[in-house]
Symmetry: C2
Subunit: 378 residues, 2 copies
Amino acid sequence: MEFVMLNKDEHTDARLGTIRTPHGEVSTPAFMPVGTQAAVKALTPEQVRGLGAEMILGNTYHLHLRPGHRAIADLGGLHRFMNWPGPILTDSGGFQIYSLGALRRIEEEGATFQSHIDGSRHFLGPESAVEIQESLGSDIMMCLDECIAYPAARHDAKIALDRTARWALRCKNSRGGDRQALFGIIQGGVYPDLRRQAVDQIAAIGFDGYAIGGLSVGEPKELLLENLAVTAPLLPEDRPRYLMGVGTPEDLVEGVYHGIDMFDCVMPTRCARNGLLFTNGEKVVIKNARYREDGSPLDSTCDCYTCQNYSRAYLRHLYVAGEILAMVLNTIHNLRYYLRLMERIREAIRRDRFGDFRDGFLRERGAGGDVSSRCADQ
Amino acid sequence: MEFVMLNKDEHTDARLGTIRTPHGEVSTPAFMPVGTQAAVKALTPEQVRGLGAEMILGNTYHLHLRPGHRAIADLGGLHRFMNWPGPILTDSGGFQIYSLGALRRIEEEGATFQSHIDGSRHFLGPESAVEIQESLGSDIMMCLDECIAYPAARHDAKIALDRTARWALRCKNSRGGDRQALFGIIQGGVYPDLRRQAVDQIAAIGFDGYAIGGLSVGEPKELLLENLAVTAPLLPEDRPRYLMGVGTPEDLVEGVYHGIDMFDCVMPTRCARNGLLFTNGEKVVIKNARYREDGSPLDSTCDCYTCQNYSRAYLRHLYVAGEILAMVLNTIHNLRYYLRLMERIREAIRRDRFGDFRDGFLRERGAGGDVSSRCADQ
């Protein structure tokens, strides 16, 4: 993997770059649609690519449990299995063990947990997390990390970040080669000084890229932004920086402002399936009766297939009628909204105007609605 | 609407033709995918068209209840509402009142029934059935008919067919113009002599096309085939003949054999969503564990997107994992199976070889499996 920085915004920490992987290039800052179970929910790979996505994310925890990483390896690897020829990043499973694994027990050796599917017992350690990701054949692998809940005592956050650093070293030592990149993960909860310690530890080991984990786990927005602002600038400048599992469109803009290059989040796809749609103007909860006879497109400024061909009335009808096509069309729109936002961000950085872009965007979004807080609840 | 017969098979009653409508031509014999609620379930119109479909079906009963035919008319009609620029046939609602409407009461004036959605009371008569379909703007409208259950006493079948004939005349008299074609429907249960009476009554009124209704409502396959064989040849030769709601691939071949030009059925799309897939060889119930590591395509003889790009193992994984994409990929395959069958049927008629085609097809299918009986149960 190679990371080339093309421009650094004159007035902010925003960076424009390119990540070169064995399966193609990715323009950064990039948003990666989430393909948890070897599919970006509701869409074909061609549809995802057509929306402007260059890299997608696959989930180690889910694919390990079903259909199993060895089955995927036998079938030619994850790219071939899911018919996605472009770059894939796989997470390590650490976050899902924290959020989904029942009765988990974290020890120095690794994590023992019960499957959320059938309750079967599994073990995931740093070495097996790498082994699974090598079987899947992703372009970018993530180190196994220990996620902690919010709120967590400083003492517990410290224990987790130290263990995450020891696990990171074991991950690096267990790789079978360097065709697949490996990223280290910065933990440290909402304690800025612990975040600094984590950066020192992980950067000292040395990775192909660095991710900020353990944010967007329930903490107030101010703490997310504070810890992002403290951590991002400390990360090695010549490597991609990835803010994991974040977030709203505003969060993406803030992340870029602080120098983040990569994002992933289920928000656009999950909100879409719940009928909550991102637009440049008002917030659209598509089931509302006010859209029943609304012949206008969802977002008249949007160039997506959905906005070019369908009315709000039709989208409302499909959603209320429980049609699968509602999920498809809504997902197309929300993903395009995110990916188009990234295009606008990259263009702003190219022109050294990202600060202005950010000001305008936050002002505009402040005036419009924000569907994000409702999405997670549904 | 215009119907041009291009060839009549030398050895059977099979016919090759073209139906010209205000929204384009349809090659017959044709299979029409069902778009009950203004969407062919799980697919975009472009996907449906790409599979070879030329005309689709919309359901008057469903669209009348939700979102309402006046709303669709105000939004520019059904074609524009659902982004399907090609021909559309709408049924009259008679079958759904029979199969879905709770507490229905059929009187000479029309049918009073409760919505399957919210229990609200509605009235549908011959005139309002036409009015609704004119609002929708379909290319082919169907007369309101009275469907009866199987088994039904001869006396009841006779009452229903006589009423269907009186309603058919009222439908014809209430049309506002002839831009939209209107088809009459032949009822008569499983009584061949009643079927003959019905043809006489309906043909005497005179319609743009003729449909056989009231079959595939639970009667044994032998009775379906017997009544089809009796009825189809009696229908006016110079008009399209439509066998409503039928059926399995074998049924389609048998229908064509007896001179049917048009078919619709939920079987390919519904089976797809239940993971039951039509192939030229074995029957495929995709959730079966035997496909877990099967890297071969669903049907190596199929040219569809699904078979060209995915393995059985992947399709099984998506289905078991509950991914929406399973519905999409399965529907693409099953619809393509049906539409490709129609292409092969048309080619056989063109070459005056339909008899041979039928023999070979029924032999092959007899040897292979038949998913159809399982589909309806799930």
